[in-house]
Symmetry: C2
């Protein structure tokens, strides 16, 4: 016997609003809040649909976690901390209460881990496929909002370094594994590591908090490293040079790239790393040591942002030669 | 030649963000804002999907307007004024640029008419049906937020009247007409009036602003008059008695109900009127005259809210007898 819509909300979602008075227990037309003094509100939304962004067979836990964490990663990119979110589900009839129970439980675990409360949403039936979206609100101390665009204009005398958190490319390779692709030489542990990096990404909220006092620009890597630093370059009216050998890779990904060098392009252009790429003034790089001591992920310098052709990204090998990428690097639009 | 996703955003949606600096021209991971001093933020989200909430053949203008206005109506229910919104579209491949152009143009017209700016969103491809959602932010002066729940507990000595704006039932009858149902005795103008009430509802933002200083509870009628005043009754731990002959009907709907009395149940239980139902203390009813002079819709007393069985709604005829409704009135859950 399936629950009614009201019952589903009451059982699975109302508990996720406990602790946020303005959510009104999800029993009203809207939620209400006043952000704490000195904080700016950040708002973002990310949607996912079956067959395009996920397969139902990948499991409801991963679907819920990726939905939540892609939004959390957008907050991280801005230097914001989770405050509240709204959830919209469009579900076909064959999605059972069991599915929703695990879905909401996963959201509950992520709320506990990262912060934030469910404060509203909409649940609709669809004749089509599962479509999910979260609109997430975060808070950032005034003046510490990071943007894709650098805080100051990039000029010929600018001395700006590009950094990245964690390791790059694991998620793209993990996706290939979940799609059934095989890579020779990987242990089951290696495979599992890569898959988990795709199925349960880690939003870099701690990195964001540590770097936001001094970082000059930031983005989360969802479209792929080259594309996303391209967004910084585009918005900052400047160009980015990356040094291929500096790009941090996990041991597993390093191993794969050594045996199959053509995978390197997948690594630097594949999506959903959910690491942060950010820009620091060379004179302030000493602040990174302190920042690095506060976070679990390495912070690695991978290149420079400098005056040049807006939006251009070039990846250089050890000899300083441009590595040709299939699309000749990234051009915005 | 179809536009890319980036081009679509740049052409159709970016212009809708002009005037809201924290939207960053839709070129960042998230938007940012600080609400003006003395204002509380209200947030709501409403989703619609093809085949359930709309048919593609009803026309993109109506789809866009209903999406926008159902959200605006939720703001109105809270006494809030439009501030900003995020739009998520999940579109199948056969949705052309032309469709999006009219869609965005309709949103632009509504922004101009009601206020608010597009500050973010997500555009995804789907293998399924069109699914659309808006998350809308509004502002309400602190202390003037209206809720479904009355501001004070309802006791035996409470003297509370239930009012409604505009006319009830036009949208439900208009929906039947758009679905091909025929009602004898309607002129083409009558039919058009009812259809438009469904296809282009009017969110009662002006009514909300006029009543929010003194109204004790409020809801917008989206699920149907009886169900929605039932939400007020439920949340206020009280019961509502409505007087059938007081429920305001348009001339067309009155004419139809006279010739087909069984339509009256459709009128009071059908959805999407997007009128406001609200509660006023009897001692403050004089304030309604001033409020009524500020708005274009009539404000009509239709019943009372009083201590009793929580969530009960009864509709009485002229003789004071309970009119039996198919579901025996409305019971929440």
């Amino acid at each position: 016997m399936s629950l009614t819509e009201f019952q589903r909300i009451a059982r699975f979602f109302k508990p996720l609003s406990d602790g946020f008075p303005g959510a009104f227990g999800l029993g009203d037309d809207a939620a209400a809040f006043t952000p704490p003094a000195g904080q700016e509100v950040v708002i973002t939304t990310d949607a996912m649909t079956e067959g395009v962004h996920f397969m139902r067979k990948q499991g409801v836990q991963s679907i819920a976690a990726r939905l939540m964490r892609s939004n959390l990663s957008d907050l991280a990119a801005k230097g914001a901390e989770p405050y509240a979110y709204l959830l919209t589900t469009a579900l076909p009839k064959d999605v059972e209460d069991d599915w929703l129970q695990v879905f909401s439980q996963t959201l509950a675990e992520d709320q506990k881990r990262y912060g934030g409360f469910l404060i509203g949403g909409d649940s609709i039936r669809t004749e089509g496929l599962i479509t999910l979206s979260i609109t997430m609100l975060g808070l950032v101390p005034k003046g510490q909002l990071m943007r894709r665009k650098t805080k100051h204009e990039v000029t010929a005398s600018s001395n700006l370094s590009v950094y990245v958190s964690g390791t790059i490319g694991d998620s793209a390779l993990g996706l290939k594994l979940t799609q059934g692709q095989k890579f020779p030489g990987l242990s089951p542990e290696d495979e599992n590591y890569l898959k988990q990096r795709h199925l349960k990404p880690e939003p870099r909220l701690d990195v964001a908090k540590a770097i936001r006092p001094f970082a000059k620009a930031c983005i989360d890597i969802s479209d792929g490293l080259v594309a996303d630093v391209g967004h910084i370059a585009q918005q900052s009216n400047a160009e980015i040079m990356l040094q291929a050998e500096k790009i941090p890779l996990s041991n597993v990904t390093k191993k794969l790239c050594n045996s199959q060098p053509d995978l390197f392009e997948t690594v630097i252009t594949g999506g959903e790393d959910y690491e942060l790429a950010f820009v620091v003034e060379a004179t302030e790089e000493s602040l990174l040591t302190i920042a690095a001591s506060k976070v679990n992920a390495p912070l690695t310098k991978i290149g420079t942002l400098r005056a040049g052709k807006a939006g251009d990204v070039q990846v250089l090998d050890k000899q300083g030669s441009i590595i040709p990428l299939k699309h000749g690097g990234w051009t915005h639009f």
